[in-house]
């Protein structure tokens, strides 16, 4: 069975990364910005696992496991912050939350 080349996964990961970056830059809703962050983290994990496969070692897989754990804790803390922002400002529009702007 011929294997899928390394470049396929890298191209897919690059597309995912740029789409996630686009989501972060354009969306006003904080939860959708978090979805863009998740896309970027997934692109990074895909790269790590791909290099691990084509290198024959386990480092990339271990890094991606730690990356998944960090993504889980990041999502939990970020959503807690978003809920707190909503309780205080009654909106999660990141363009309107400008109390700290002078």
């Amino acid at each position: 069975m011929p294997e899928i080349g390394l470049n396929h996964f890298l191209v897919l990961s690059a597309i995912l990364f740029s789409l996630g970056l686009f989501g972060i830059m354009t969306r006003r809703n904080a939860v959708v910005v978090l979805m863009g962050v998740e896309l970027i983290l997934n692109a990074a994990n895909l790269n790590l696992v791909a290099f691990s496969k084509f290198n024959g070692t386990m480092s990339g897989v271990m890094f991606s496991m730690f990356g998944i754990i960090l993504a889980a804790s990041e999502a939990a803390v970020a959503l807690a912050i978003v809920l707190n922002i909503y309780a205080r400002f009654k909106t999660v529009d990141i363009g309107e939350i400008d109390t700290m702007r002078e």
Binding site: F9, V11, L19, L21, M35, A76, R88, V92
Partner: protein
């Protein structure tokens, strides 16, 4: 290809199907204006990336991806959508801004990444491949990665307690406001 091999064809066709699924659903996550549609497109993206891990013979990572991302993070995001919007409004739409500069930056970064990956970088790949990943992960966790493993467990513990504390509704804050 002199003689047609159906197994090879199916192997590659399924890969490209999942790649197209990932790209289309990830594009829907960032381009569709309805927040609920974005969240459910993210579901398909995460499942597709799990299939990519299967193609990379990282079976344990694939299962972990489904359990943690689809079972945990996506549910958290949906809770976030539900709790921070008035459900009575019929369509949950999100405004967009910086559309043209963001599109330009995205295309520039995508182009430079693709150029670097495809034409400039000469990746040195090894001849050996990882075949399965479950047993090696077990060895790695108790040999080379003991300290990071313990630290990340403490980090997860602290993050969950911190998230529960931050998200708690504080009556004093709203009363003093």
């Amino acid at each position: 290809m002199e003689n047609f091999d159906f197994g090879t064809f199916a192997y590659q066709a399924i890969f490209y199907l999942f790649a197209i699924l990932i790209v289309v659903s990830a594009a829907m996550v960032v381009f569709v204006r309805s927040i609920i549609y974005s969240a459910f497109s993210l579901l398909f993206t995460l499942f597709g990336i799990s299939a990519m891990y299967v193609y990379l013979s990282a079976d344990f990572v694939a299962v972990t991806q489904i359990v943690v991302y689809v079972g945990g993070i996506l549910i958290l995001l949906l809770f976030g959508v539900m709790l921070t919007n008035k459900i009575t409004q019929e369509r949950l739409l999100t405004d967009v801004f910086n559309l043209v500069p963001a599109l330009l930056i995205m295309l520039a970064i995508l182009g430079s990444l693709l150029y670097t990956v495809l034409f400039r970088a000469k990746w040195h790949t090894s001849a050996q491949r990882t075949t399965t990943v479950v047993e090696p992960i077990g060895y790695e966790v108790i040999t080379n990665y003991v300290l990071p493993f313990e630290i990340v467990s403490i980090l997860l513990f602290v993050a969950l307690i911190g998230a529960a504390y931050i998200a708690r509704s504080d009556s004093k804050v709203s009363a003093s406001k």
